[in-house]
């Protein structure tokens, strides 16, 4: 009824504006929906993490206080590896399409490992790239990273020095290097 009171001219304008708004809203709706969905899922995961904290002492996941799309994790270096005794910090950047798209994870703690970039901490892991499945959670990604620390893949190295040591069979060299960096970067300073 309101529209009737508009002049012909302004009605036309009104319609035009209306149309573009509708289109914008539709686009936003699609985006908002996925953001909402990923928010909901992350929130669920958060609750799950709170519950499981006791259950898995190797992983300590926490969410940024202001942004649910930023997470950090502290993982313990697996035993019987050169990373034993170290505590490594991981940074998660979760995309808005999560869980349909994988989170971006990198090491904040320096680590000497063939599949981790020595400078940026970028991780080369198939499940973070093309083998991602939405059924993974941040928690399970952490577990996969721990598994990667125990079982490096020297054939697709991001850290070539480390990869070459392993590929040439110099296990001892690799282990001592990795252990040294674990001591230097991943262990609390004494005193």
């Amino acid at each position: 009824m309101m529209i009737v009171e508009f002049t012909v001219f302004s009605t036309f304008k009104f319609v035009a504006v209306k149309l573009s708004e509708v289109i914008k809203q539709q686009n936003n709706a699609a985006e908002l929906f996925s953001v909402k969905a990923s928010r909901a899922r992350l929130f669920k995961e958060f609750k799950e993490v709170q519950r499981e904290k006791v259950a898995d002492p190797d992983i300590q996941l926490s969410c940024d206080d202001n942004n649910i799309f930023k997470w950090t994790a502290l993982v313990k270096g697996p035993s019987e590896t050169p990373f034993e005794g170290g505590i490594f910090q991981l940074a998660f950047a979760v995309p808005e399409q999560y869980p349909l798209q994988p989170p971006q994870v990198r090491f904040l703690t320096k680590i000497f490992h063939p599949n981790v970039h020595f400078k940026t901490g970028e991780i080369c892991l198939d499940i973070l790239k093309n083998a991602w499945s939405p059924a993974w959670t941040l928690q399970s990604v952490c577990r996969a990273i721990i598994a990667l620390m125990a079982h490096p893949e020297p054939d697709s190295p991001l850290n070539c020095d480390s990869g070459n040591l392993l590929r040439s069979g110099d296990i001892r060299g690799y282990q001592s290097m990795a252990r040294m960096y674990t001591r230097l970067a991943a262990m609390p300073k004494k005193g």
């Binding site: 699609a30 996925s34 969905a37 909901a40 899922r41 669920k44 995961e45 799950e48 399409q97 869980p99 349909l100 798209q101 499945s133 939405p134 059924a135 993974w136």
Partner: protein, 587 residues
């Protein structure tokens, strides 16, 4: 254009009449293509029909539903034979597993979903009606499925959308994908369908897109051999294996090298050698403007366009005996610099290649003037009524010129050092080269003669003289055709066939010219999209309809007529629209 083709039919009759008196009657039998074209045009509309045969075979043998058959075929790049070989070798379960097909466990499918389901993706309890279970048994809520599909389609992975569950290799049911996606993103559902359908072209060795620019939207399916040249319904002729212009008797590799070489030479050299020849008498550059290679300069001097040599008594219109400029004379005695010799050698072949290509470019002009002459003759009241021989001769001329022009790059590589240096001894090469050049020369002679007769102003001749021209043209047409045929045979059997290392194949000679791919019959093509949507049920009955033989021939003819009626200028018209109409009217 229309009368051109209808006259082609006529010319067959007239040709046959004339053959009575000629000795080469048998030649027609063994190279005439006995069956219809071995290649088919696949348009947007017939794309689904084109795949049906393959799908049907797989569906029947393995008794699976259509989307499973498609998944299997996509995995095996539409090679049905290979798929069957894997089946025999490794068994059904491996075949299915590798391709990501999971046949639902009967007991699993039979059980309806519980009233509420916990979706592991959004960790939300949803009603059973809002969740979907894939064939692999994994069940997630529709919202999550949709999101997953949208992401995958946008990533361009429509052909292999896997289940969301961890380590599940199963490919999602296309009907489910289509259903869910079309609810929120109809455009993406369309895209998904297109990708799925076009996999038949993209992933299939036997099907190629037509390389026309702008793209005509068609693809060609080759049903016989790998090496052939085809003509799309858009009019473009191309080599099916390398998708460049039709280049037989050159092999694809030779052609690729030749094109590159021609591009590399400096433009100036190209222009000078290509566009002009210096008159041997007054040394003015002469540009050629007609089809024949006997050129006369403005000063009156006649010379051969190919070798640039002055021609007098021994190179006239009626006789070009002793003209052997097509032979390459290697000036080894002079011990000239190797690089210089190479350049000369290249220029020799390039000049001849270019000369024939250029005369070939003037053909449309010649066609017009010939038509004029024919109409003049037709107006005359004479007993000679059928002028199919003119068009037939003209067609033969164009065809043979094509063969001739591509035979030069062939010779350049065949007898050069670049490709086959270690394959032949010098002596062998010399023998082969002579053999080839003899044939080439013979062909060239006859082509020039044919060209001369066709360019003659026979519309002004007495009737008797016209009859004489007719006889000559008919004769020469048959001879050149036979010579082309012989040259191809020589190349296939004696030259390329005897090589040990090089893998060179050429498309076989077709005297009727490059085969026009026939349009694939679309029995119910217009509702193909709908058919795809309604899933697999009831599909098999429809696919019983023969997709080859009778109906395709019919539509092939109609498409041919249609194409001809579009007129000579429409090389790039969109055939999809009229095809639609024709097919509908046939229904």
């Amino acid at each position: 254009m229309e009368e051109y083709f209808s006259s082609d039919d006529e010319c067959c009759y007239s040709d046959r009449d004339s053959l009575d008196g000629l000795e080469n009657e048998d030649s027609r039998t063994h190279w005439a293509p006995s069956k219809g074209p071995a290649s088919k045009v696949i348009t947007k509309e017939s794309l689904l029909a084109a795949q049906r045969e393959d799908l049907r075979r797989v569906m029947e043998l393995l008794s699976v539903r259509e989307h499973h058959a498609r998944t299997l075929l996509i995995h095996h790049r539409w090679d049905v034979e290979k798929l069957f070989a894997v089946l025999v070798e490794k068994g059904k379960s491996v075949l299915f597993m590798e391709a990501g097909v999971s046949l639902a466990d009967q007991q699993n499918l039979g059980v309806p979903l519980p009233p509420t389901v916990m979706c592991e993706i959004c960790i939300e309890d949803v009603l059973g009606g809002d969740a979907t279970r894939m064939d692999c048994g994994h069940c997630f809520c529709n919202e999550c499925w949709t999101g997953h599909f949208v992401v995958k389609i946008n990533e361009g992975q429509s052909k292999r959308i896997k289940c969301m569950a961890h380590k599940c290799n199963a490919i999602c049911d296309e009907a489910v994908v289509r259903n869910l996606v079309s609810k929120t993103h109809p455009d993406l559902a369309e895209k998904f369908d297109r990708f799925l359908l076009e996999s038949y072209i993209e992933d299939n060795k036997r099907v190629n897109w037509c390389p026309s620019t702008p793209h005509c939207g068609n693809a060609i399916r080759n049903e016989d051999d790998d090496f052939c040249e085809v003509e799309c319904s858009c009019g473009l002729q191309f080599c099916f294996s390398c998708l460049s212009e039709a280049h037989s008797p050159c092999s694809c590799l030779m052609w690729e090298l030749w094109v590159k070489k021609c591009r590399d030479e400096s433009e100036t050299v190209n222009w000078i050698t290509v566009h002009t020849k210096h008159c041997p008498k007054c040394h003015k550059p002469v540009e050629k403007n007609g089809g024949c290679n006997l050129v006369s300069c403005i000063c009156g001097q006649a010379f051969c366009w190919l070798c640039g040599g002055a021609t007098g008594r021994d190179h006239t219109w009626s006789s070009i005996a002793g003209h052997s400029c097509g032979r390459y004379k290697d000036d080894g005695e002079k011990k000239a610099e190797r690089a210089k010799r190479d350049l000369f050698r290249y220029m020799h072949y390039h000049n001849r290649y270019k000369a024939h290509t250029d005369s070939f470019k003037l053909e449309s002009k010649l066609k017009e003037t010939i038509q004029e002459k024919v109409s003049v003759l037709e107006d005359r009241d004479s007993k000679l009524r059928d002028f199919g021989w003119v068009n037939n001769g003209l067609y033969r001329l164009f065809r043979s010129r094509r063969v001739l022009s591509y035979s030069y790059p062939f010779a350049f590589y065949m007898f050069g050092d670049e490709l086959f240096k270690d394959e032949m001894t010098n002596k062998e090469r010399d023998i082969k080269q002579h053999l080839f050049e003899d044939q080439q020369q013979q062909l060239e002679e006859n082509v020039e003669k044919l060209s001369k007769f066709l360019e003659a102003p026979f519309d002004q001749y007495e009737e008797e003289k016209v009859m004489n021209v007719r006889m000559q043209v008919l004769n020469l047409s048959t001879i050149t055709d036979k010579l082309c045929q012989k040259m191809y045979e020589c190349i296939e059997n004696d030259l390329l066939g005897s090589l040990q290392l090089g893998i060179h194949n050429i498309a076989p000679y077709r005297s009727k010219g490059i085969e026009k791919a026939s349009e694939l019959s679309v029995c119910w093509g217009n509702n193909s999209d709908k058919a795809l949507h309604c899933g697999s049920s009831g599909r098999t009955t429809e696919s019983d309809q023969p997709s080859g033989s009778g109906s395709s021939e019919e539509s092939g003819i109609s498409s041919r007529k249609r194409a001809r009626m579009e007129g000579p200028g429409g090389a790039f018209f969109d055939l999809n629209l009229p095809a639609d109409n024709v097919d509908r009217s046939e229904l």
